[in-house]
């Protein structure tokens, strides 16, 4: 009984301690990202690894999600005789929710885990300590470029996901099923607002990008420098960032889409 209480207490304090450490880490990271932005080549390299290499999975998933939305949406809408609203349904659900959220989840498992594993392995093989010995700040040289690479890639990936999904919905709805093409696009254009829907979607994807990449670099930097520690850190990155995305999505949606309108 007592041992269980002790374990519970230890778990709570460790969590709070790590939260505090992560916040301190985030502030330090922001303060020392000068190098990453001045030597932009470093960040470009990380955009390649986080963004370009995630392109295939994002594009293919976006296409399929849009196609499924087209099929399911048509099935439901035609019961109410409003299958022309298919474009609105596909575009709004992608731009507002699915684009940022699913792209964020994919990004966390594709790029976030890679970042954690890379930094964790650098720590396990003492490359980070070696850098410190040479008076190179590992946060400025290793962590910050990865962080900014992820943050810059994420909104572009989410936009690509949404665009690809709308194309998938168009493919199924208009080309395959035969919804009227003019109504598909014009109803979509009438219903989707640039500021309320698209800009808010972009804001969401930026927030998710910051959250996922911060969690990924922090877990890597804070990992136990053993093979097991790195593998645990990678798992934690995917789990924590997926939960963070879904929780943040709820908060952001509540802030953005419940006023007026």
């Amino acid at each position: 009984m007592r041992a269980a209480l002790v374990r519970l207490g230890a778990m709570v304090t460790t969590t709070v301690w790590r939260l505090g450490y992560a916040s301190r880490f985030f502030v330090y990271l922001l303060a020392h990202s000068g190098t990453a932005l001045r030597r932009f080549r470093l960040t470009v390299r990380e955009i390649y690894f986080a963004g370009v290499l995630s392109l295939i999975i994002i594009l293919v998933s976006g296409l399929f999600v849009g196609m499924v939305l087209g099929l399911q949406g048509y099935d439901t809408l035609q019961r109410y005789g409003s299958s022309e609203a298919l474009g609105v349904l596909v575009a709004l659900s992608l731009v507002r929710e699915l684009g940022p959220v699913v792209a964020g989840l994919l990004f966390a498992s594709r790029a976030g885990s890679a970042i954690t594993a890379e930094i964790g392995l650098m720590k396990a093989t003492e490359q980070l300590s070696a850098m410190e010995m040479m008076a190179v700040d590992p946060i400025a040289r290793v962590v910050a470029p990865r962080f900014w690479g992820g943050v810059l890639s994420m909104p572009l990936l989410a936009a690509l996901f949404s665009a690809m999904g709308i194309f998938g919905g168009y493919l199924v709805g208009v080309v395959l099923i035969g919804v009227d093409e003019g109504a598909f696009w014009s109803q979509m254009q009438a219903a989707v607002d640039v500021r309320n829907d698209i800009l808010n979607g972009v804001i969401k994807s930026v927030v998710f990008g910051v959250a996922v990449t911060l969690i990924a670099v922090f877990e890597g930097y804070d990992s136990v420098p053993t093979a097991e520690g790195v593998s645990r850190a990678t798992t934690r990155t995917v789990v924590t960032s997926s939960l963070a995305i879904l929780a943040l999505d709820f908060v952001l949606t509540a802030l953005m889409f419940t006023g007026g309108n």
Partner: protein
């Protein structure tokens, strides 16, 4: 992989990413259609605006000529005051009538303008005098029921 190849790929990635954003803004959203054009404002007062919302379209002869910019309540006349923002390429006479209409049976509400015959043209900040409120379904049903009841009463009284 050498540096210039990475740069090339990142360039391609950023370009198609921005292209996707542009596609969303122009083709999916309605950025191109209206927001940059010059507009002028007119107000219209309605006894009841029903479910009209800010940013609802203002149409004349079915063509979108503007949007509802603001909706407020006048606490002296107990009327709804709507501010319409009309594209300045469209000119209307001063005795234009504004009606609140519904697109389709269950669609969104919009303001329909019917041009009058006045020679003078509406200017910025003027008011549309002739307005017709939204049709409220409950009022319509109760009118129908009352008229039916009245008919029934007449028929009985006549016997």
């Amino acid at each position: 992989m050498n540096r210039s190849t990475i740069d090339l790929w990142v360039g391609v990635f950023v370009a198609i990413g921005l292209g996707a954003l542009l596609f969303l803004a122009l083709k999916v959203g309605n950025l191109a259609s209206f927001s940059t054009a010059e507009t002028y404002r007119v107000d219209a007062r309605f006894a009841n605006i029903g479910g009209l919302k800010v940013r609802a379209p203002v149409k004349s002869a079915g063509v979108v000529v503007g949007r509802v910019a603001d909706i407020a309540f006048d606490n002296e006349s107990y009327e709804a005051v709507t501010v319409l923002r009309i594209d300045s390429q469209y000119k209307f006479p001063r005795d234009t009538a504004a009606k609140i209409l519904t697109s389709g049976l269950l669609g969104d509400q919009y303001i329909g303008l019917e041009a009058g015959a006045d020679a003078r043209i509406l200017k910025d900040g003027e008011r549309l005098r002739i307005t017709q409120s939204a049709v409220v379904l409950e009022n319509l049903i109760s009118q129908f029921l009352f008229s039916k009841a009245a008919e029934g009463g007449d028929a009985k009284g006549g016997k």
